[in-house]
């Protein structure tokens, strides 16, 4: 199991993009570190930064990451940086910063060491820590990249179903209706001019009902609009007030042939308004 794991995580290598110079394809970096000028930029793009370049150099030259020969590594690194300068490439600040750090570590190592030097005091310790951490992240990234992904190599069941489109109309609560009415009144500043009481509301509802009845039945005899047997006195009065209001607003026409004969109501039709 462990060996299998190791062989899996060994895999990521620095992938150098295919480089063509004067029609010839270079498949790997030249061993002598001679970089054809045209290709330098492409090489550098293959590295994700100075740490990546350093790791590459360490691997390439079989250096021990736990005991890095600073002089050697710095020399190799500076070759690249110098090439960049010569070719007037826009040098990423990160690469320059790293050269400064390498040179500093190198010079600190040249200083005479105290006898009992603790391992953490090794000037290389921080660099080694960063290199190892970055290498681990590179391996982790390669592993993540190799994992099956939805949209790449995992296909999720997505059969069709009939989206029954029962488009429900909006719900309206009494509160919302009242709120709307309140807003209307507020805006229209009707508050002080109109009082719409319970009674009046009933009258207006009866007006609607009578109009509706006249619309379907045409002419209706006055007494037919009253259900003496079932309606209470209050309702009969409201009904009567509604008829009076309808007449006042000119919405109905009342006719009576002679005194005490039946009174007929009908919706006021345009043609007969002239009287």
């Amino acid at each position: 199991m462990l060996t299998q794991l190791n062989s899996e995580i060994k895999t990521p290598e620095i992938k150098i993009p295919e480089i063509k110079i004067k029609g010839e394809t270079l498949s790997e970096l030249p061993h002598d570190l001679y970089i054809p000028p045209d290709a330098l930029e492409v090489y550098l793009e293959a590295f994700e930064g100075p740490l990546d370049l350093l790791l590459y150099l360490i691997r390439k030259h079989n250096l021990d990451i736990l005991d890095i020969p600073m002089a050697e590594l710095t020399k190799q690194y500076m070759v690249y940086v110098e090439k960049m300068k010569v070719n007037k490439l826009e040098l990423a600040a990160d690469y320059l910063l790293m050269s400064a750090m390498l040179i500093e570590i190198k010079s600190r190592m040249l200083l005479p060491k105290p006898a009992e030097i603790a391992e953490e005091d090794d000037p290389r310790a921080e660099l080694v820590r960063r290199l190892m951490e970055y290498e681990a992240i590179k391996l982790a990234a390669a592993r993540l990249d190799a994992m099956p992904q939805v949209g790449v190599d995992i296909s999720v069941a997505a059969a069709y179903y009939q989206h029954i489109s029962e488009i429900k109309p909006p719900e309206v609560s009494l509160d919302e209706l009242v709120e709307a009415w309140r807003n209307v009144l507020k805006r229209a500043k009707l508050n002080s001019h109109h009082k719409i009481g319970k009674q009046e509301l009933s009258v207006r509802e009866h007006m609607s009902q009578i109009l509706r009845r006249l619309k379907t039945d045409g002419m209706v005899e006055f007494s037919q609009l009253f259900d003496m047997a079932h309606d209470g006195l209050a309702k009969l009065v409201v009904n009567f007030l509604a008829i009076l209001e309808l007449a006042k607003e000119g919405l109905i026409r009342m006719t009576q042939q002679q005194a005490f004969s039946p009174i007929y109501l009908q919706a006021n039709l345009g043609e007969s308004v002239s009287e």
Partner: protein, 183 residues
């Protein structure tokens, strides 16, 4: 990559592809699965077999305009839609205020509504309320143009759980409610 070497493996590939495609697959699409090593007649035969395999199951393989797809049998749709309930839209402020005016001031004309709201009534607003069967025309006012008079319907009362318009909170009640109760 090892190409499938028997027909039952091919049928499995076909089934897995159709179940995960998310859209109908045409015959040409499905032929791509087998990198050109499948005859159209064989493909049709496999599709027929899949149709039969699934006949008693939860999905069915159907042919639509752009190809074949698996779909849930109709009796399951009503349950599946519960996973993504369609949001009930809200009525616009214009609709609600128009409805309130008709409810409280009925019968009213569009002109009345416009006067109270101070803006023109969008015909669409009236249509929404009429299609809902919450308002209807109960007559005409005898003025030039004979505008329609609108009133609320029985259906509106039912939907708002009211027996009569007089059960609407009277204006005085909520005029007082505007005064903070704890003052």
């Amino acid at each position: 990559m090892k190409e499938p070497d028997n027909i039952s493996e091919m049928k499995q590939i076909l089934e897995a592809a159709l179940l995960t495609a998310g859209q109908p697959l045409s015959l040409d699409d499905m032929l791509k699965l087998f990198a050109g090593r499948m005859e159209r007649t064989t493909l049709r035969m496999l599709l027929d077999e899949l149709k039969i395999d699934w006949a008693e199951k939860t999905l069915e393989l159907v042919q639509v305009a752009t190809g074949y797809r698996f779909q849930a049998k109709p009796q399951f749709s009503e349950f599946i839609v519960r996973l993504s309930p369609e949001r009930q839209p809200k009525y616009s402020r214009a609709v609600m205020e128009t409805l309130a005016i008709i409810a409280y001031r009925q019968p009213v004309t569009r002109g009345d509504i416009e006067q109270i709201r101070g803006v023109a009534v969008n015909p669409n607003v009236m249509r929404q309320l009429q299609e809902r069967d919450w308002i209807d025309v109960v007559g005409q006012r005898e003025v030039p143009g004979r505008p329609s008079l609108y009133a609320t319907t029985k259906h509106f009362l039912d939907d708002l759980n009211l027996r009569s318009i007089s059960e609407l909170p009277p204006f005085e009640d909520f005029a007082q409610a505007e005064i903070p109760l704890d003052s």
